[in-house]
């Protein structure tokens, strides 16, 4: 008996530190990342990428994709905050991993980087499909672009892409000058899914086909509909990066110079390293992560929050929004945060003004409709986490004694009444005592 309780205590003691080393609401950057490889030589061929991740404080755990001891959770707790799957040809994961457990991993709010390469197994395609990304069905197809290729490549499959999404949150403030080198498979995004977006798109002359055989029918994916690297931000703010090329992250392409066909600009270093580093900062929540404090509202001139408003009251509303800088919470500065005063549909929608210290405020008059309203802040910006806050407050009509006391239009009626009274009073004297 003693042994059992002692061993339970020991086990929980070991688990306790594991629990404290994960991301939390106060510190949203991921810490522990599981890296699945289908070939351990990727550790050295992609060493620059992994070294930059380690230097930013990530705890990388390298495992082979078919390792039989693979597990994402133990005793109901997740062991990792992020997952990198650089195993494009793996048909089955080892251990307890499969596409459903990875989907659950993302559903729990954790992040994923998934990469295919010139070959993409059905397992990888299935995981990508869960996130709204369709890889080309033809397994021998690659992205070919006869106008946007790197001049060092003979058969135009090494694409020099520069059609990047315009978002400071996803790609950082510094513009990526050099094109990004890419060799791999094409994918397209599900058009009805509005959580995915293309980060690196192909040029209009690109197409996805087998480079060594002639085309017999038009290819499925052509032009700018081809996405080379896409991201998805789920509704619970989990972030997923899906890339069609594993070589994009390799040391060879990080270091190589690039010259796009038809362009005189020759760059010493491709944009790959900057692109991969900035994207990894975004996906692991080092950037673009917002947190909001509670919504505060009160009547003008008061400080306490009332339990109920009256129609046509003047009220002030404020909310605090902070942005995670990777190490600390900084005030968020933006001019497009809006608040709605909502009951079935918004009655008032106002843009909040900021004092640049993280507080957003505005004031307006309560509408003259009574009912139960909500203050709603629904904020979504490309690359940032979505904020969805609401607070309920009832609104009552005027009490009977809050109306105007005397109405000027009614003065004749008041006059009529009082003159009648006065007349009667005088008459009572006169009638009785007249002689």
């Amino acid at each position: 008996m003693m042994n059992l309780s002692r061993s339970v205590a020991l086990i929980s003691l070991f688990l306790l530190p594991l629990l404290s080393f994960s991301f939390s609401v106060d510190n949203p950057t991921d810490r522990r990342v599981l890296v699945l490889l289908d070939d351990l030589s990727l550790k050295s061929s992609h060493s620059i990428f992994f070294t930059t991740l380690k230097s930013r404080g990530f705890d990388l755990d390298f495992k082979l994709a078919d390792d039989s001891k693979l597990a994402l959770q133990r005793y109901g707790q997740y062991l990792y905050d992020g997952l990198i799957v650089f195993a494009p040809s793996t048909e089955r994961f080892g251990g307890s991993l499969d596409s459903k457990s990875i989907a659950d991993f993302v559903d729990s709010g954790r992040d994923l980087i998934l990469s295919a390469d010139t070959s993409a197994s059905d397992l990888i395609r299935g995981i990508a499909l869960e996130c709204g990304v369709d890889f080309d069905e033809d397994s021998s197809a690659m992205v070919i672009d006869h106008s946007s290729f790197s001049v060092s490549d003979g058969d135009h499959t090494l694409i020099a892409a520069d059609d990047l999404v315009k978002s400071d949150a996803i790609l950082g403030k510094t513009k990526i000058e050099a094109p990004v080198l890419f060799r791999g498979v094409a994918h397209s995004l599900n058009p009805t899914n509005n959580l995915v977006l293309k980060v690196l798109s192909a040029s209009p002359s690109a197409y996805s086909a087998n480079p060594s055989s002639k085309l017999s029918s038009p290819p499925q994916l052509t032009g700018s509909a081809i996405s080379l690297v896409s991201v998805m931000q789920a509704r619970n703010n989990a972030r997923v990066v899906i890339s069609g090329s594993l070589q994009l992250f390799s040391d060879r392409l990080f270091r190589s110079g690039v010259q796009k066909a038809g362009s005189p600009n020759k760059y010493e270093k491709s944009g790959n390293e900057q692109f991969a580093t900035e994207l990894s900062k975004w996906v692991f929540h080092e950037r673009g992560h917002l947190k909001a404090g509670s919504l505060v509202h009160h009547r003008v001139g008061e400080t306490d929050e009332p339990a109920i408003y009256r129609i046509k009251d003047d009220l002030e509303f404020s909310v605090e929004i902070l942005e995670w800088s990777g190490k600390s919470w900084e005030p968020y500065v933006a001019d497009d945060v809006q608040v709605q005063f909502y009951m079935m549909s918004p009655y008032v929608l106002k843009t909040l003004s900021t004092d640049k210290k993280g507080m957003f405020h505005t004031s307006f008059k309560v509408p003259d409709v009574y009912g139960v309203f909500q203050f709603k802040v629904e904020y979504g910006k490309l690359g940032y986490t979505t904020l969805s806050l609401s607070k309920q407050i009832p609104v009552r009509p005027y009490r009977h004694n809050e109306y105007e006391r005397f109405i000027p239009t009614a003065y004749p009626y008041y006059g009529a009444c009082f003159t009648t009274m006065a007349g009667f009073f005088v008459f009572s004297f006169v009638y009785l005592y007249h002689k």
């Binding site: 058969d155 209009p204 085309l215 009667f424 007249h434 002689k435």
Partner: protein
């Protein structure tokens, strides 16, 4: 010029070698274009080079087969990894595009309704129109620098509707020229019965083509029949990600305007008008010569008279109505009976 570098497995320089280009196998034709050509050694750059290619070396994909033999003068024990090294090479060149034209043909007869010459090196502004009974024909000729017919890997004609729905067709090369004929009668269903303006874009490209091109030729107005109910709907197009997010239009509540009341002055005027009869009454009374002479002089009666009138005034104030009512009836009775007895006395006297 072809330059080849040979090194040991670890990358260092080798002894004297004999490098030969045994064959240059073209992917298209059989047989080799180059046979057993020996490469000369350039000591400065330590490469073996071939500076001229035969006349019939055209653009395209080749597999160069290199044979490396040890020079007779080599003394040490050296081993060569492979007898023949095969390397895929793409020979590129500028492809000439001639006689490019686009035409709308009439129905079965095939007579040309409108025809336009194209310059595919730049974007054009061709404007055509067709209905579903007509055909669209695009034709051009691609020639290699040596004059042979060239079949590019990528030869797409893209029709893009105003609603962003796209259709791609392959331009096939046969014989001397490349041609595509789009028979709209058979394509009506594929085009989802969408009539309107379609942009025409031609993309020609190949790994061995140095001047791959993408040309926006122009647009064509297509007049297609109405969609029947059972036909497929055009696919949903993705929304622009930049417009997905963004501030919404501001809404400010329009308060119910209170009913328009007459001006204050008007109300005061009417107040005056109302008070006027009262003043007239008072004036009338004084004209009539009313007086309050028979106000009782004895104290008891006077007090009750005062109280009576005070009570009436209080009633008019509508305060404590019920109690006043009771009080008033007593006092009133006392006063009025006193008055009645006074008048009775007068009458009898």
């Amino acid at each position: 010029m072809l330059a080849v570098k040979v090194s040991t497995v670890l990358g260092s320089k080798t002894a004297a070698l004999n490098v030969k280009l045994a064959q240059a196998l073209s992917s298209g034709s059989k047989g080799s274009v180059i046979n057993n050509q020996e490469l000369k050694f350039d000591a400065d750059s330590a490469t073996y080079f071939l500076d001229s290619f035969p006349e019939n070396f055209d653009v395209g994909k080749y597999t160069f087969v290199f044979e490396i033999l040890l020079d007779e003068s080599a003394q040490e024990k050296l081993y060569i990894t492979e007898a023949q090294t095969k390397i895929p090479i793409a020979a590129t060149g500028a492809i000439s595009i001639e006689n490019a034209e686009i035409a709308v043909l009439d129905g079965d007869v095939g007579s040309v309704e409108s025809q336009k010459k194209l310059d595919l090196t730049k974007d054009g502004a061709v404007s055509l129109s067709a209905n579903h009974l007509q055909k669209l024909r695009l034709s051009y000729q691609l020639n290699t620098p040596l004059g042979h017919v060239f079949k590019p890997h990528q030869a797409f004609l893209k029709l893009k509707h105003e609603s962003q729905v796209e259709h791609i067709f392959l331009v096939k090369t046969s014989g001397k020229k490349s041609e595509l004929v789009l028979d709209f009668l058979g394509l009506v269903e594929k085009l989802y019965y969408l009539s309107g303006k379609y942009e025409i874009q031609l993309t020609i490209g190949d790994a061995s083509m140095e001047n791959s091109l993408l040309s926006n030729i122009g647009h064509i107005e297509l007049d297609l029949p109405e969609r029947p109910e059972k036909a497929a709907q055009p696919p949903v197009q993705p929304t622009d990600p930049y417009s997905r997010y963004g501030p919404k239009a501001e809404i400010s509540h329009i308060f119910r305007v209170p009913e328009k009341l007459p001006a204050k002055q008007l109300s005061l005027v009417f107040l005056g008008l109302i008070v006027l009869p009262f003043i007239a009454f008072l004036i009338g009374l004084t004209r009539l010569g009313v007086n309050i002479k028979s106000f009782p002089s004895s104290v008891g009666a006077a007090t009750s008279a005062l109280l009576f009138h005070g009570g009436i005034g209080a009633v008019l104030n509508i305060k404590a109505l019920s109690l006043l009512g009771v009080f008033l009836s007593f006092v009133g009775h006392s006063t009025l009976s006193h008055l009645a007895s006074a008048s009775n006395k007068l009458k009898s006297a």
